[in-house]
Symmetry: C2
Amino acid sequence: MPTRRQCANAIRVLAIDAIEKAKSGHPGAPLGMADMAEALWRRHFKHNPANPSWPDRDRFVLSNGHASMLHYALLHLTGYDLSIAEIENFRQWQSKTPGHPETGITPGVDMTTGPLGQGIASAVGMALAERMLAARFNTAEHSIVDHYTWVFCGDGCLMEGVSHEACSLAGVWKLGKLIVLYDANGISIDGRIDAWYSEDVRARFTAYGWQVIGPVDGHDAAALDAAIDGAKGETARPSLIICRTHIGFGSPKADSEKCHGSPLGEGAARAARRTLDWHEPPFVIPDDIYRAWDARRTGMAAEERWRTAFAAYRQACPDLADEFGRRMAGDLPADWPAPAQGVLREARTRAEDAATRAASKAVLECLVPRLPELVGGSADLSGSVGTCTTASRHFEPVSGLGNYISYGVREFGMGAIMNGLALHGGFIPYAGTFMAFSDQAKNAVRLAALMGLRLVWVFTHDSIGVGEDGPTHQPVEQLASLRATPGLLLWRPCDITETAVAWQCALESRHMPTCLSLSRQSLPFHTRDDAQVALIARGGYVLRDCEGAPEIILIATGSEVALAEATAERLNTLGHRARLVSMPCTELFDAQDAAYKERVLPNACRARLAVEAAAPDFWRKYAGLDGAVCGMSTFGASAPAASLWGHFGFSVEHLLDMALELLKNRA
Amino acid sequence: MPTRRQCANAIRVLAIDAIEKAKSGHPGAPLGMADMAEALWRRHFKHNPANPSWPDRDRFVLSNGHASMLHYALLHLTGYDLSIAEIENFRQWQSKTPGHPETGITPGVDMTTGPLGQGIASAVGMALAERMLAARFNTAEHSIVDHYTWVFCGDGCLMEGVSHEACSLAGVWKLGKLIVLYDANGISIDGRIDAWYSEDVRARFTAYGWQVIGPVDGHDAAALDAAIDGAKGETARPSLIICRTHIGFGSPKADSEKCHGSPLGEGAARAARRTLDWHEPPFVIPDDIYRAWDARRTGMAAEERWRTAFAAYRQACPDLADEFGRRMAGDLPADWPAPAQGVLREARTRAEDAATRAASKAVLECLVPRLPELVGGSADLSGSVGTCTTASRHFEPVSGLGNYISYGVREFGMGAIMNGLALHGGFIPYAGTFMAFSDQAKNAVRLAALMGLRLVWVFTHDSIGVGEDGPTHQPVEQLASLRATPGLLLWRPCDITETAVAWQCALESRHMPTCLSLSRQSLPFHTRDDAQVALIARGGYVLRDCEGAPEIILIATGSEVALAEATAERLNTLGHRARLVSMPCTELFDAQDAAYKERVLPNACRARLAVEAAAPDFWRKYAGLDGAVCGMSTFGASAPAASLWGHFGFSVEHLLDMALELLKNRA
C-alpha cells in the first residue's frame, strides 16, 4: 500500500513529465498543491469518474488554472476517461489536456479557468446553485441535492478584485458548503509576494463572514484532513483553509518563481524524481499507486446510493423529481414556446411605445412566473434595468429560497457568479447593469462565451440616450466589443416586439450566452405583418420597403430604427427608393444563407447608410466603402438626451444629408 | 457668523436646487455628505481656488461621483471659477457642471468619476505619486512636495473589486497621506445594503494595513475634525474614516434609496428647506455664508508660502527645481526627441528579428534611464511583458524611491493607479499585462481615454501566437474593443522599428493614452528606407509596393505583416501587382488627409485583403464589401503556436487562395 505522499508524488511526476514533454506549462503549482489534492480527492471529494455529469457530485474548481496538470493527473489517476496518452499529449492540438482547464473538453473539468480570481468567484455561483436547488427540491425525508463546491486557489486569485466581490457575497449568503483551499506559497510570477501582497488574509475573510482555518502545513496530509473536516463541520459559513505550501515542492527550484511558468528542465526534473524517491520512467505509474487512487468503484457506489435515494424521491414526489430532471437537463418547460409566443402576441396586440428596458421587464413579467429556472438579479440597479418582476423573490440565505439576487455594486462578481449558476446546472441566470459597465464584467462575459453557457445579460442605458449622467455612463465602444467576442449573441431590439423575440432566442440559445442592449428612453412601437415578425429571429430583416429595387438602404438597430425610418420616409417622399433594414442581432443575420442576405442587402445596392449611436467602424461590414455610418466617434456628454441626439448628428436632417450625399455620389 | 451646520446646509440647498432645476441628479449623497465636506474643506483641505493647478495642493477625489453637486457646491462656495449660473446650469449641454465630475471641464475637479470604485483606486495612484515625488525632490531642508490625497467614497465603491485591488496595495505601500472618508449610510440603489453588503469594513481595511477610525457621526463636525486629525496623525498607514451618515439628510426621504438618484420633488424640496431652517430663494446663498466658505484669501496665502519655499529651494537646488518644474509641466526632457531617435537608429542598424515585446523592452532599456518621469510596472508578469529594465528600481515604500511597481495580479487596480499617477502630474506611467487581460482593466483604460491622460499600456501575447496557454490567454476581440474606444491610440507594430516609433508617438501623445499590442513570438525585421520610416508615424504606409497601380492591396498589422509580405511576393511572382500596407495604428492613419490615404489605399483598388489574427469585422473599414479579411472569428485553442497558425488559416497558402479569389471576382 503506497503512502499518501507517494500518491501525491504520482501527481507531481505526471505534471513534471507532461510539462517536460510539452516543453511548456506550469510545474510549480501542481508540485506545491499535490498533497492538498491527495487529501481532498482521496478522502473527501464525492464524485464518480464514470459519470462526470452526475447532478449531485461535488464540484471542483481549480481557480489557479495554470495548475491544470494537477487536475489532469487527478482525473487520470482516479479513473476518468483521460488516458495516459492524453497526459502525454498535454497542450497539443485537439488533445483533451489543454494548457488551462476547459470545460467541455476534458471530462471532469467543471469550469474553464485561467484568468485568475474567476474560478473562486464562479464557485460562489455553483455553491449558490446547490443551496437554491436544495431549498427547492429537498424535502424533510429526501435530500437529493447535497454536495460541496471545492476550490483550489492561489495568491493571484485573492489579489484579483473579483475574488473580493464574490467572496463578500458568499459570506452574506452563508454558503456553508463552499470550501476553498488556498495555496499560500508566498510566490507569484514576479517573485516573493511580500512586496505586493501583505494583507492579512485570515482577517479579510473573517471580515466577509467566512470561517478561516489554518494556516496548516499544506504538505501534511493529516493536518489537511483535519482542516477539511473542520470546514465540513461548519455549515453556516463558507470556509477558507490557508495551506502553507512550497511552490515546486520536491524540485530544486522549490520556493522560487523560476518553477512557476516553465518546464523544470531535464536536470531539475531528474533531481526532483530523486528527491521524490520516484524511480519509474516518464508517464509510468506503478499499479499499486493506480489502485490507491482508483475512485471508480467508490464513485459508482456513491452515485448508486444517490440513484436509489432519487428513486425513492421520485416515488414520493414524482412532480418534483420530473422537474428536477428537467431543470438539470436544461430543458425548457414542456409548454415552451407557448409562454414566449404569448408574450409576443400580447406585445403586438398592445402595440405600445416603451423603452426597451421596460419592454424587457414586461417580457420578464410573463416569463419569470413560468420558468422557475430563471434566477434574476442586478448590480444594484434593479429599478433601472427592469430585472426584478412581481414574481421575483429575493434570495434568502437561511431558507435558500428565492429567484432574485441583489448582487450589490459588483458587475464582474455578478458575471462570474452567473457563470457558476449556469455551470452548476438547474438555472438560467439573467442579470442587469448599465451597458457602460459591461466593461467591468467583460472577462466574465468572455468566459461565458468560451464555455458556451446559456445566460442573459440585460445591458440597459445603451447609448447617449442616457442623457445627463454623461460620458462615464454612456457606452460607445461596448457594442463593438461584445460583437467582436466569439460565441455570443448581442441583441439590440428597437421595440417590444423585437425584445420579446430576443428573449425567446436567448432562452433557446442553449449553448451560447446573450447580451441584450436596451434603451433607457421610450421608443415607438413598429407595426409588422406576421411574415416580418417571423423574420426577426434571423437577426436582420426588411422593416420598411420601397417599391422596386432600393436605391439606398438604411440599416439601423435599437433606438435608431425610428430615426432611420423617418429618414427613409423622407427619402421616399423625395422620390428615392429607400429601404429600411432593422438589424437587431448581427450574429444571427450573418448566420443566414447567402440568398437571404442578398434579399435583405442586395449586393448591387451600395448606397447604404448604417445608423447606430455607438462606435461606427463595425458597420462598415454592411455599409462598405461606398456607404456611410452615422455613429459615435467620440465620447458622449452630459446633457438632456434630447439635446445630445441633435448635437451628435442623430437627426432626420443630418441623416437625410448623409443619404442624399450617398445617392449623389452613386449617380 | 454662521454655524458649521449652516455652512453645510448651503451645500445641501445648492444640491437640491440644482437637481430640481435639472430635473435629474442624485440628491441623497450630497445631502448626506455635506457635513463631512464642511469639516474637510473648511478646516483641513489645502487648496487655492484661484489656481487649481498648484502642484502642491491637496488632491480631492469624489469616488462616488454621482454626488457631483456636493463637489460643485464646494468649488462654488470656496471661490473657484464656477459661478452660480453654472450651478443653475447643472447637467446641461456644455455647462461646467456635468452629471458626474469631469476633470478638464470643471476647475478644481482632479478626476473624472462615476464608475464606482475607480475614484478611490486612482487616489491610491495620486498618493503614490506624492510619495515618489517627495522622495525624489524634497531635501533635508526643503519640503516642496507635501500634500494629502482625500477621498470621499460610498458603500458601492467598497463593494467594487477595484477598491480591493488598490486599497490592498495602498497598505503595502504605507501611503500615510491617503485619507478616505467613507460615507457609510447603509443604503444603495436597491435599498438597505445589509442583504448584499455585510462585511466588516473595519476588519477588512485593518487587514490591508490601514488605520481605521470610527465609526464617527458623519453629521458631527467636531467628531469629524477629531477623526481627520487622527488620520493626519498617522503617517505610516493610509487612513479610512468610517462616517455614519443619513442619506438625504434633512429631507423627508432621508434614510431611503428613494432620494438616491432622482430629484426630491417640489414638496420634499420645500420640506427639506424647512427642516434645514433655510429661507432663501433657490440658488441664493447669504453673504455671511459665502464669507464663511470663502477660501480665496487663505488659499492664496497658502500657495504664496509654498512659492516662497520653492524660491528658496530653487536657490539651493536649481537643477532639482528645474527638473520638478519640467516634470509637473509634463514636458519631455530638453534633449527629446534625441533619445527616441537614438533608439530608432540603433534598431535600424541592428536590424534584428525579435518579438515585439522584446523590441519594446529594448526601447525601454534606452528610454527609462533618460526619462525619470517614466514609472513602469506590471500585473505580476514583469518577465513576460518586458516592462522591467536594468534601470528599473522597485518602488520601496519606506524611502519612497524607485521607478518600477509590482502591482501584483491586479490589472484593473493597476490601470486605475496609473490613471492616478498621470492625473497627479510628474509621471508618465506605463505598465504591462497580457492583451487578453486588458478586459479586466478595460474601464480604467476607458477613463484614461476620457480624461486624456498620457500613459502607455504594454499589452503583450496579443494573438494565438500565445500558443499552448490556450483560449483564455489568447485575445480575439480586445483589439476591436480598444480601437472602438474614442481618444485612444492602439499600436500593433510589426518589428522593432515600428515599435520604436510607437513608443516615441506614445510619449509625445500628451493628451491621449496609448495601448501597445505586442507579440509573444519572434517577428522578422523589415528593411525600410528613410522615407518609409518617416511614414510609420502616419499609422499606415506602403511597406512593399509593386510596379504600377496595384491590382490588390494586402493590409496587415503586427505579427501578420510578414505573412502578408510573403503572400504579396508570391502574388507578384505570379504576375499580379500586389501592394503591402503596414497599418500599425489605424487611429493615426484615419487622421491623415484624404490625399495621403488615397495614395496608400487608392479607392479604385477594391481587391483588398486585410490580415490580422483578431476579430475580423473591424477590417471591413478598409477591406470593404469587395475585399476579404483573414481574422479570428472563433476563440483560439491550446497548442504550439506553429500549429495554431495553420489551423486558423494564417498561412501563405490560405492567404494566396483568398487573394486569388479576390482577383478572380474582380475580373
